[in-house]
Amino acid sequence: MRNVTDEEVIFIDHDLAARGIVLEELRDNLIDHICCIIEHESTMEEDFYKCYERVLPQFFKEELQEIQTETDNLLQFKNFYTMKKIMNISGISTVFLILVGAILKSLHLPGAAVTFLLGGFTFAFMFLPILIIIKLKDDESTTDKVVFSFGLLLAMAIAVGVIFKIMHWPYANMLMYSGTIIFTALYVPLYFFTRIRRPEIKFNTIVNSVLMIAFGGIMYSLFDLSYSKKYADQMQENHYYLHDNAMLLFETNQSLYAAIPASEQANQLKSITSEVNTNLEKMVGTLVKNKSTSGLNSSVPELMTALNQYNSFVGTLNNASLKSIDDSGLKVIERINTELAMNILARVQQQLAVNESVFLGNQVIDKQLVAN
């Protein structure tokens, strides 16, 4: 019986690697198997290389790499099966959680947001990614795989955007807008043109494309509505109500100034209230003129300075009925819509008028008490 030398083993090893057997364990198996055949089934006289060339074809039908591919497939099959199972479970969980979330939300019961959030995350980070992996392993053409995976990635972006929107987290609009626009303007045409020429899927392609365009359009219009006209009108009405009341109080206050004894405090209050109010009126004017909060950038610091001075002054009056004016709304005024901004300004204006009125009212009472 002949013996395969170490040099010949190295030769087989290199040749198998060159023929696509990349898994070392598999290569070791095949080397030993080939060596066994050569040692048991060839004569001492036969040339090793000729014998090797004769033996090798019995390992494959067309090329040796088939064994590597078959091994890879069998090794991955278990994972593939597990992944499909996880995908099914995550799919069912998504449907269940979203349905329960919707019911809780419509009945105003607690736990709706958490349920929605869980459902959305299961969908975006479990179901869709596994679906992409499974699709990539399918026997479909490379173009179909790429187009489908691209679509699923966009679906992930939109789903995450929707979750962020529900949870009032940042970047929600960016995710939803970009996802929906790319989906409608790029993905759907890509899907349509890569499939329409295949007669067997032509009908499905047309139906799916129409459905997807409709979905994209509806999503886009929903995002773009921002807030309703009814809401805007209500906010405007609210602003006028607050503003008119404040003006009425300011007018009454002017008469009260005449009714109290002249004092440094009263003069200071009158002057500082007027300064803040002028700033507020100026800002309201800008809002009405521009119909946007974007032109307020220069007025906000001036108003904030005046308000700080006002609040400090109010603090020195030692009157518990006088309230410092909350400036938190003013800090974000440039980032909110016009109607809401006008409301915030009107509320500040009303607080100014009320403070002034309370101070003057107290002064009138004091004067009467002294007179009695």
Partner: protein, 114 residues
């Protein structure tokens, strides 16, 4: 010699049962043993055997032991505890399947009366 389709469906059972009886075997030995036992009627191809052995090893049915013969590495396969159970299950399953096939193909009319 039987067709590769028939052998492929029963390969795992053949390998597991052989290892159950023989204890420790390497790839070439498995092919030769099957060939000898069946008088050459069943010849396991290397292209089917090694992917199956690797898959059984990964799923925990088999464990391996390496032996170095110079530059060569010989992998001996043995059944794990889980593999022993699977081997019995596979043999039972195949036996039942063969009986059903006999009945289905009308090769053993008595089975129908059983």
């Amino acid at each position: 010699m039987y067709s590769s389709e028939l052998i492929k469906g029963t390969l795992k059972t053949i390998v597991l049962n052989l290892l159950k009886e023989q204890g420790r075997m390497y790839g070439y030995e498995i092919t030769q043993r099957v060939k000898d036992l069946t008088n050459g009627k069943i010849q396991i191809t290397e292209g089917a055997l090694y992917p199956t052995l690797h898959s059984l090893e990964k799923s925990g049915e088999l464990e391996t032991e390496k032996e170095y013969l110079g530059k060569r590495v010989r992998k001996y396969y043995t059944l794990t505890e889980q593999g022993q159970t699977t081997a019995s299950q596979k043999v039972n399953e195949l036996t039942e399947f063969m009986q059903t096939m006999k009945f289905l193909l009308d090769l053993d009319p008595q089975l129908g009366n059983a």
